[in-house]
Symmetry: C2
Amino acid sequence: MSNKNPSAVPEPTLKRLPVYLRYLKKAREQGLLTITAPAMGRELQLDPTQIVKDLAMASASGRPRVGYGIDEVIHTLEHFLGFNTENEAVLVGAGNLGRALLSYPGFQNYGLKIVAAFDNDPEKLARTSTGINIVHMDKFPELMKKLKISIAILTTPPSVAQEVASVLVSCGIKAIWNLTPARISVPSTVAVQNTSMYANVAILLNKLRHLEDIEKSPDHREST
Amino acid sequence: MSNKNPSAVPEPTLKRLPVYLRYLKKAREQGLLTITAPAMGRELQLDPTQIVKDLAMASASGRPRVGYGIDEVIHTLEHFLGFNTENEAVLVGAGNLGRALLSYPGFQNYGLKIVAAFDNDPEKLARTSTGINIVHMDKFPELMKKLKISIAILTTPPSVAQEVASVLVSCGIKAIWNLTPARISVPSTVAVQNTSMYANVAILLNKLRHLEDIEKSPDHREST
DNA sequence: CAGTGTGAAGTTGTTCACAGCA
DNA sequence: TGCTGTGAACAACTTCACACTG
């Protein structure tokens, strides 16, 4: 019953590709022209085979004994991920996180261009952060007709996430990046990517506690 | 070679538990006292068995025909996740995302309490956001000796992430929430949780493109 | 050799099937 | 009957083993 979409590319791979991309860009800046999967694996602490398979998924290929052409792979990855095409998005919910994302540089380099922001709170409408106007949610349907945008970034309070999401969908949004801890229900024709900060806090705390437990336990053969 | 930590609790479960927690809190506010896994599954679009197994991981149990006691499970989950104990953390890198997290309400309710923030840029030191002072990174080692904090939130530019991470570790940090797209190397005695916004953008764009492909393809038997 | 590429094996997480229970 | 709880079947992802290449 889980949101299984029959994506050709496994999600774990999709998460690693931007990591490779950043690493390759750094490597190129340092003057490197080619790189091997084992070398990358050492730096990024990943299995070399994993890297080879991931890159193959993005249809990048290398040459035995030589490795991968960095420029070539960067281009291939950017194309594959859609990072070199401008995907216009709107942001809904100009709270703390929302405004941070508005002023986040680099999304532009990663394919996302936020062109408008919305909020219900009149308090927040005055602010313009970095050139992007924050307008009242009432204007959303009207503006959406003009803009023809398919991506929305949802950073409202979780209590209204579902309600807002439904509005987004009814106005033609086809992909929602849900940064609230609430889970939203949308038609199967709409893509949702959940990114909850709290989930990451949970994992971090768990890892920490686990390490502490090992430390305390009698048989901690950790290499301190 | 991947960062395999032999955690007793699978990471996917750990990500879902906070989702349950929020949902249960909402349900309790609406006056509900008990809830069944199938009911939750319907709302959250998850397999009921999944939920039962996840809750069992957190050592919460229910009664057949009745379901789970909401208050009880909330308490169990909060305890299990460490959300009801105050885990003090420092934030390093007061850029856009960093300052957003500083003023993010709710981390307190999720076990994280940011008690200090650091940055290298003198420009940013003046600001105090929400009561938390942003002080110069030079003061970090000194302050860490006093504070005895084990968690750091890393929100620097990726180019200095590794360098800063090494400083954190040398000052006794035991867990790093890495919100930069760079991957950092730390001793195996230190926990790292990577949360890259770009990875999520990549997944969202891929899902969107995939849906568009289905739409265009001749045999789209999607229920619109 | 030292790397890419790939099929097979292994591991982990999810879904199914059903026993137990009120 | 409708739920929890759990062992078994299944699916997805990772790691291993090795053929292939310059």
